[in-house]
């Protein structure tokens, strides 16, 4: 479903964030991407929908011929509609209502003036109601996003990504701004929704425990290179030491 070939990113300051990532993700698979800060996790998922332009390499999406890196602007926008994204700081438009934030996921399908006057198609509005009910926020739809708590905001972020009806979810540290209880609930929600819709997802997460518990496959990234790719149960002390550095990993692995 998604295949990257020798994907590289060098920032203008010379920093090599990605040193040639080769990765293949089949339909409906939830992958956790772990690694220390600065390993290139955020850069990697942003090079897939080209919020960050990759320096070289290819990203095939949906089929072997569809190379995202070679698309022009308007074709790229069409592809972006099929890739949902969830962010660490939620990245909701703070001064818009919950409903507007959810519906903004449909912007790629709606013309400018219709979006300007907030005239969304009836089926989008119905889908927004359904999603808000699924995430348990249907009573909040008129609230402004900045009135919500962290966990509620992330749920709205999830609804905004899902209303795109995507084939792939890119999830950037969804729990880093949340408390442990909300973290677990949000991870569970994302994984459940992926299963319901047979969605593939790449989840950047630095919490090894959450990654092991919720993802079937784990990829370890270190300084822009893949150093582990396998089952969650396959993580050993030696592997974690390789990814993160020297530390007592025995308790983490025991879990």
């Amino acid at each position: 479903m998604l295949k990257t070939i020798n994907l590289k990113k060098v920032y203008p300051n010379g920093e090599e964030a990605l040193k040639g990532i080769n990765l293949e993700i089949p339909n409906g698979q939830v992958v956790a991407l772990i690694g220390p800060s600065g390993a290139g996790k955020s850069t990697f998922i942003r090079t897939i929908n080209r919020l960050v332009e990759p320096t070289s390499g290819k990203v095939y999406f949906a089929n072997e011929k569809n190379d995202i890196t070679s698309l022009n602007k308007s074709k790229l926008r069409k592809i972006r509609r099929q890739i949902g994204m969830i962010f660490q700081e939620f990245a909701l438009v703070e001064r818009l209502s919950v409903m507007e934030n959810v519906l903004s996921g449909r912007l790629g399908y709606v013309g400018f003036w219709n979006s300007f006057f907030r005239k969304f198609p009836q089926k989008d509005i119905e889908e927004a109601f359904r999603l808000l009910q699924r995430i348990g926020l249907e009573h909040m739809l008129d609230k402004r996003a900045d009135e919500l708590s962290g966990g509620q905001r992330q749920r709205v972020g999830i609804a905004r990504a899902l209303i795109q009806n995507p084939m792939l979810l890119l999830v950037d540290e969804p729990t880093a701004s949340l408390d442990p209880k909300n973290s677990r609930q949000i991870m569970r929600l994302i994984c459940e929704l992926c299963k319901e819709r047979n969605l593939a997802a790449i989840i950047n997460i630095h919490d090894v425990f959450l990654a092991q518990n919720f993802a079937e496959r784990i990829i370890g990234l270190k300084a822009g290179e893949i150093v582990y790719d396998g089952k969650a149960s396959g993580l050993s002390e030696a592997i974690l030491t390789n990814i993160y550095g020297e530390e007592d990993w025995s308790k983490t692995v025991a879990n």
Binding site: N49, L51, R77, K78, I79, R80, R81, I83, G84, M85, F87, E89, A91, L92, V93, E94, R95, L96, E100, S104, G105, R106, L107, G108, Y109, F112, S115, F116, G157, R160, Q164, L170
Partner: protein, 271 residues
Amino acid sequence: MPIIKQKDYKTWKKFDRKRDLLNWLCWFLGTLIFSLCFGLISSNTIWFYVFDSHNEALDLLGRMIPPETNYFYTLIKPIWDTLNIATIGTTIGTLIAIPLAFLSANNTTPSKKFIRPLALFCIVSSRSINSVIWALLLVAVVGPGVLAGIIAIGLRSIGFCGKLLYEAIEEIDENQIEAIEATGANKAQIMTFGIVPQILPAFTSISIYRWDINIREATVVGLVGAGGIGIELDAQIGDLAWAKVSVILLTIVVAVVFSEWITAKIRKAII
């Protein structure tokens, strides 16, 4: 080297000796310059008038009181003109400032090399010329009257609103923009869904603030013939009709208090 080693202990001072001397020298030079300037100004002042000024002020006040209250009715039209100059001028100014601000802001300008400097130049030139000077020029160009005042106020407001607005645009949260971009939205949609909601509070408070300033400026542009209550003020001072001048000043005070009240109300309602 703020740590000073003595024989058997070390101590700490904020500055070393060299810096102490430099500080002392600066204070000395500052005092010297102040005294010299004071001497110069003093020798150019006729102190007799200064010491007499309280008598003059009392005399003027005596002529202003009692104000000629009937005169107020002839002021209704000019003060209405003044309010209109301020309101229409502010509207025109902010409307032109919006596109200029988007062209000037680092993160929204279409071209950093060419368009941005051009837009910044427009903003700076509008800001650097006072509205009275704009009014003087415009009275010569479009003739005396309300129109000259409106354009003068508008031209001056472009720079003020443009600068504050483009700074607000540069301070937006890029994460929210990124999220809208990731949904496949186009440039215009990113602007209306991502940028506009973030700068709307800044925009309203900037334009209300400018309107508040413009009410006061609109009273002054009349002094050079650009319409409103200033024309009346200029005429009555020329006639030495101090009882009428006091009515004008009171009217201006009332108008400004009124505008303060309105802006406070609007701010409360919007933000």
